[in-house]
Symmetry: C2
Subunit: 424 residues, 2 copies
């Protein structure tokens, strides 16, 4: 055996732990009869097989375009895709032609852009403000980069945290605030336009020597199935100096085509591109050429309408099953988009990774994401473990009903405390 | 204007400069009549348009497979692609079933894997040993990670450098040695099997408290058009503990499909996957499903034979033109694979980025990579600027002939010193 193991890894590697989700996924794979309400996968039957086929047929009618699609592109991404992305965003957020195509960077899903933006701004020891709870894969990035995560539940708590950071002399270390602002992963709720305006103001007022950027992860914005669209943080940043907006064509269209994008203040684009140049000097050009034709040909908007119908039904089925099978102590908000229900059991209940409820659920062949995984470690509060993230993305309606029924049985067989009324 | 600019970027971002190649590419794009012998692009007319079409047709015959291809895969990559990659490599390098599929990680081209491996092993201030000259994009990674680059031209120089590092008390900081071992970018030459064996031994003997890994970038191995294949470093690492081997299906098959791989010692796989999980949790599943069918269906090996013929001809045209048009002072080796000729003018000549020769070449609408960009900054030697990298990858035979003719005219109109004979 090899005795020279010490000091072989970088500090970053030593900080970077195995993501909890990989362990969960392995467990799921080992139980083929498991109903998974855990994965953030999308609905497979409604994936755009015939649309992609049409696009490929069209592409192959133009031999020059095929060769171009099979050749390298550039680091920033396909010009037409960037142009379309810019125009659509300007229109949605009433930006009045404020953006330039140069501010759009195409990435390997939005995930790569979340990672790149964090890397170009933050050194180990820097502070990142996080909604509490938040997207657990992003918590992996935070940990890997050696950042101090400061969680906040709302704007009031954000003010409190910032006041405390200031009092502790840590104000200068705050670099970034991260928001999954639409149909949040995990809670299914959205940040209102007023909330965004207020938060942007709070952060701007707090700035001292350097900008505090807002990283808005809009991965689920296009998965809306009820209600109206909400303006992004970009709409509250008239000179587009503080907001990095990331989103993806992967999640709403086809998760197998890995193409996302970021819109960033001009000053941030060169470092993002330099980092991306070192990582891969450009996202799959073939995937981009497909997506470019998807958006240009109107396939994208049409597909969004179709899947809205699909997820509306699936969410409805989950809502109905929750009402039917879950104990009355369980609480949740009804989402208007995205892929998730976030169910709170009374505080004091443990449905976390090591809990009886989680183990019994697995025994009953049903699987959820324990909510505790969506909370960062923090001195500001204990990590809650009385919540579960339930996805209606990839499971069929039948599986959703059966899965919730099984979970409900597990919960009803457990002794749950009752929700305490406020003040007592 | 925004006055709060200071401290906004991470130390890594401040270290990461614009890659010279992006500047070169912009210049090329601005001159549409330019003959580019600079880019490492591949031959467009021989891209596998009909092969990919066949595979897509077959794929669409199986609706379940289409949906699977359009859905997420996993972080490590497609099982069948990893299995095929492992078997092929074991056979080529006579590894006697030493590898497991778990040691194969699929990435966004091999570039992502070069970046990930460097990141998991090296902290700022660590030392990386580099062939001199080397792949300039990798020099960008080295700079971005804040590493000290120690260049060496051959095994004798490697011994000298290591002795000096030891004498200076820096031995403990050496983490990694990087090799573009096949038809090198930029020199077109390869490292022999004996050289690999000797180098692996030198590095192993130098180890003290921690392993020194060999990062073998075999991106051009499959672009062989003369002679025999050479065993990789894996063949000299019987327990597969020190070698990380990276290669790609992108370069030899279709650069628009971004799928590469690494083979790594077992201990390195978990951190590589953790970093990849944070960056993108998996390479484009659609691209992988195409490539999986490319290799499994025998398209890959067939395509390699076809392009060997193409590049053999193109390299032959470049050789002939160099002989015909370049001044007798120019020297080069004839490559047996890859995409490059590396031409040395007599030392003392300047054909670097700021040189008259480079400017006059651009005026003559021909474009090469100044060799100086392929040398790291180092206290060990001055950065040579009397060489040029000439690519026969994407230019047509006609363009190669015309480009070399123009370059030859520029060189013949310049006053070149003569090569000095050894010893005076």
């Amino acid at each position: 055996m090899d005795s020279l193991k010490s000091n072989a890894f970088s500090k970053k590697a030593l900080r970077t732990k195995d993501p909890p989700i990989s362990w969960l996924m392995k467990m799921a794979l080992a139980r083929p009869h498991l109903i998974s309400l855990a994965a953030g996968f999308t609905d497979s039957p409604s994936l755009p097989a015939s649309e992609v086929r049409e696009i490929l047929d069209d592409l192959w009618k133009e031999p020059r375009d095929v060769l171009a699609a099979l050749q390298y592109g550039n680091t920033a991404g396909d010009e037409i895709l960037r142009e379309w992305t810019r125009q659509r965003l300007e229109k949605r957020d009433h930006l009045n032609q404020a953006l330039s195509n140069e501010q759009i960077v195409i990435g390997n899903g939005s995930q790569q852009l979340l990672s790149l933006v964090t890397e170009i701004l933050c050194d180990p020891g820097d502070i990142i403000l996080l909604e509490d709870p938040t997207y657990f894969v992003f918590l992996g990035i935070v940990e890997s980069c050696g950042l101090e995560a400061v969680p906040f539940a709302d704007s009031r708590e954000l003010r409190d945290r910032l006041a405390r950071l200031k009092a502790e002399g840590k104000a200068g270390r705050v670099k970034l605030a991260y928001f999954v602002s639409y149909y949040r992963n995990p809670t299914g709720t959205s940040l209102s336009s007023n909330d965004k305006k207020e938060i942007a103001g709070i952060l701007k007022d707090f700035e001292q020597t350097h900008p505090i950027y807002i990283l808005e992860d809009a991965a689920y914005r296009d998965l809306r199935f009820h209600g109206q669209d909400i303006s992004s943080f970009l709409a509250h940043d008239p000179r587009l100096e503080r907001t990095i907006y990331t989103a993806t064509y992967t999640k709403p269209f086809a998760t197998g085509l890995k193409v996302g994008f970021a819109v960033a203040p001009e000053a941030l684009v060169p470092p993002i591109l330099r980092f991306k140049g070192n990582e891969d000097f450009g996202t799959s050009h073939f995937d981009q050429q497909i997506l470019q034709r998807v958006v240009r040909g109107g396939y994208y908007e049409k597909h969004l309408e179709q899947i809205a119908e699909v997820y509306r039904k699936k969410a409805g089925a989950m809502e109905q099953s929750l009402k039917q099978h879950f104990p009355k102590e369980a609480q949740w908000n009804t989402p208007s988009g995205g892929l998730y229900y976030w169910v709170s059991l009374p505080p004091g209940t443990d449905c976390g990774v090591e809990s009886d409820i989680f183990k019994k659920s697995l025994d009953a062949e049903v699987f959820y994401v324990p909510g505790e995984l969506c909370y960062c470690e923090s001195a500001y509060r204990k990590r809650p473990c009385h919540q579960m993230r339930l996805s209606f993305g990839s499971a069929s309606i039948e599986q959703i009903r059966e899965g919730i029924r099984r979970l409900g049985s597990v919960l009803k067989a457990s002794t749950l405390p009752r929700f305490q009324h406020q003040g007592g």
